[in-house]
């Protein structure tokens, strides 16, 4: 136990994020693939410590915005900055939780979790100790030697969480991270995610098509229009107190009110998107 305890960062120094300080700035961004314009003139700011959720109909180009923030895609127009630094490529100070299985199948849970530290040149002993801590944190102590194929879907998601968060990134990006999980596992994972996030309160941009998830997790919900040429059409503050329990908060009257309001905005776009793709 003492070996593990030594490398845990001091808990007493609680991070006090300044919500007024923009951590992610998406300025006038247009994402295009050839002639196809996925999103156009998107402006979004995410404050330090803010949990922003983005909802929109399928195929509205939500993911392309995240990929621009991650530096995986270049915007056709506009700029993306993280903590005042313009994003020009990957390797920035971000963590990305993908929708699909993104673990390296030829590496064990432990080797997967320590990847971010390894690429940053952290020594073997140090990164191993930290990775063990993170595996314990996501409830997978004892699973460090397993390969991804030997883990369940929920366990793989936990490993991915530890992998994305171990470098303590300034910004955490999530692309429908729990959509492939069954509803009970999803609630568990959402609560665990909230608990982990509460510790450090980093800026989060989470994309989802699940409006309940968006309200239950987020500080603010942004609605995107149906694609192509999607843009931000609405933004709602979620004034629900924290810490939250994802399953129980859905019975809160304020939650239901927010749900009605946001759905009124989202519904038209979902119908438009459906009519186009029919």
């Amino acid at each position: 136990m003492s070996v593990l305890a030594r490398s845990v960062p001091p808990v007493s120094v609680e991070r006090r994020p300044d919500p007024a300080k923009p951590m992610v700035e998406i300025a006038d961004v247009t994402m295009a693939f050839g002639d196809f314009v996925a999103v156009e003139n998107v402006n979004l700011n995410v404050g330090d410590g803010e949990f922003l959720t983005v909802v929109g109909p399928t195929g509205c180009g939500k993911s392309t915005i995240l990929n621009a923030v991650a530096g995986l895609l270049k915007p056709a127009k506009g700029t993306v900055s993280i903590d005042g630094q313009r994003v020009t490529g990957t390797g920035g100070d971000i963590g990305y939780l993908f929708q699909q299985d993104a673990l390296l199948p030829w590496k064990t849970a432990l080797e997967n979790v320590e990847l971010g530290l390894m690429f940053r040149g952290v020594g073997a002993a140090e990164r191993r100790a930290q990775a063990m801590d993170w595996l314990a944190k996501v409830g997978l102590a004892g699973f460090e030697g397993r390969y991804p194929q030997q883990l369940s879907g929920g366990q793989r998601k936990r490993v991915q969480m530890a992998q994305a968060l171990i470098t303590r990134p300034k910004v955490i990006l999530m692309d429908e991270p729990f959509s492939a999980l069954d509803i009970h596992t999803r609630h568990l994972m959402q609560n665990e995610l909230l608990a982990l996030w509460q510790e450090d309160r980093r800026a989060v941009v989470m994309i989802t098509h699940d409006l309940e998830e968006a309200i239950a997790l987020g500080d603010r919900v942004v609605v995107l229009a149906a694609g192509p040429r999607s843009r931000v059409i609405d933004s709602f503050e979620v004034d629900l107190s924290r810490p939250r329990d994802v399953a129980e908060i859905k019975l809160d009257t304020r939650f239901m009110e927010l749900y009605r309001n946001i759905w009124a905005s989202l519904r038209g776009e979902v119908e438009k998107s459906y009519a186009r793709n029919k």
Binding site: N67, A70, G71, L72, T90, G91, I94, G95, Y96, F98, Q100, D101, A102, L103, L104, P105, W106, K107, T108, L115, G116, F119, R120, Y147, Q149, Q150, L151, S152, Q155, Q163, T167
Partner: protein, 257 residues
């Protein structure tokens, strides 16, 4: 129980084939000039095995095979990974590669003898040309089929180009490359044997061609049998290597939890 029964059936088949063959020869139904009796073939093999000079031939063929295999594989993996990563280069070189691959390799043997002489290296060169393309195409395919999400994840985690090669591209291509290694062992042996057969003074291919020159069918068949055993042994060694290298792949029966 099934496994034992299967083994018994295999054994019965073996006895039936060779017993029938042996019987056919002794009964005069089969001409031993073309199909020598299995016992004669066995005698020839035993005669070779107890003769120390035989191992010189085996070791020469073995070194040609191993050298051709290692060099061909290394070149194939290198070129395959390179062209798998650089689509433009692959596009430009495509017609040249197709043309080279279209040449029946056997016709190159005389040229290699001209260039490299009758010794070891002309056989190695022939084996390399056979092995290279198998490994090359597999390595290229393996690199191209890397899961894009895994690749994006590694990039976001901060992997630079060389880290991507080492931690993503090579392991992803490894199973493709390994499966090609199995196929190319056979090719390496073919290259070495054909080279020896067409012009040499030692090796298993030379033994076979000598036997053929003497109308010694038993010798030819004995040579073929020794070659088959030779390849089987190399193949089982690769089996062990493959299981060691790809521990992450789920084994049969071991499904995800």
């Amino acid at each position: 129980m099934h496994a034992i029964n299967d083994r018994l059936i295999q054994l019965a088949l073996l006895v039936l084939i060779f017993g029938g063959w042996q019987f056919g020869v002794t009964a005069g139904l089969i001409d031993p000039f073309f199909f020598p009796a299995p016992l004669d073939i066995l005698k020839q093999i035993v005669a070779w095995i107890i003769n120390p000079g035989f191992y010189k031939h085996v070791s020469i063929t073995l070194s040609e095979t191993v050298l051709g295999y290692v060099i061909g594989t290394a070149l194939g993996v290198g070129a395959g990974v390179w062209l798998g990563l650089s689509r433009r280069t692959a596009r430009i070189l495509d017609p040249f590669i197709k043309t080279l691959n279209a040449i029946p390799r056997v016709v190159l043997a005389p040229i290699f003898v001209l260039w490299l002489g009758l010794g070891l290296w002309s056989k190695v060169a022939l084996a390399v040309t056979l092995v290279f393309f198998v490994t090359f195409f597999n390595a290229m395919q393996g690199v191209r089929e890397v899961n894009p999400v895994v690749l994006s994840n590694a990039r976001v985690l901060g992997a630079n180009r060389s880290a991507l090669l080492r931690h993503v591209y090579f392991p992803a291509a490894a199973s493709w490359i390994l499966s090609s290694l199995r196929t190319s062992v056979g090719f390496a042996v073919v290259g070495a044997i054909i080279g020896e057969y067409l012009g040499s003074s030692a090796g298993l291919g030379y033994l076979i061609s000598q036997a053929e020159g003497n109308f010694d069918a038993a010798g030819v068949f004995a040579g073929i049998t020794v070659l088959a055993i030779f390849v089987l042994i190399i193949d089982s060694i690769l089996d062990v290597v493959e299981n060691r290298l790809i521990t992450w792949r789920p084994k049969e029966g071991e499904r995800p939890a």
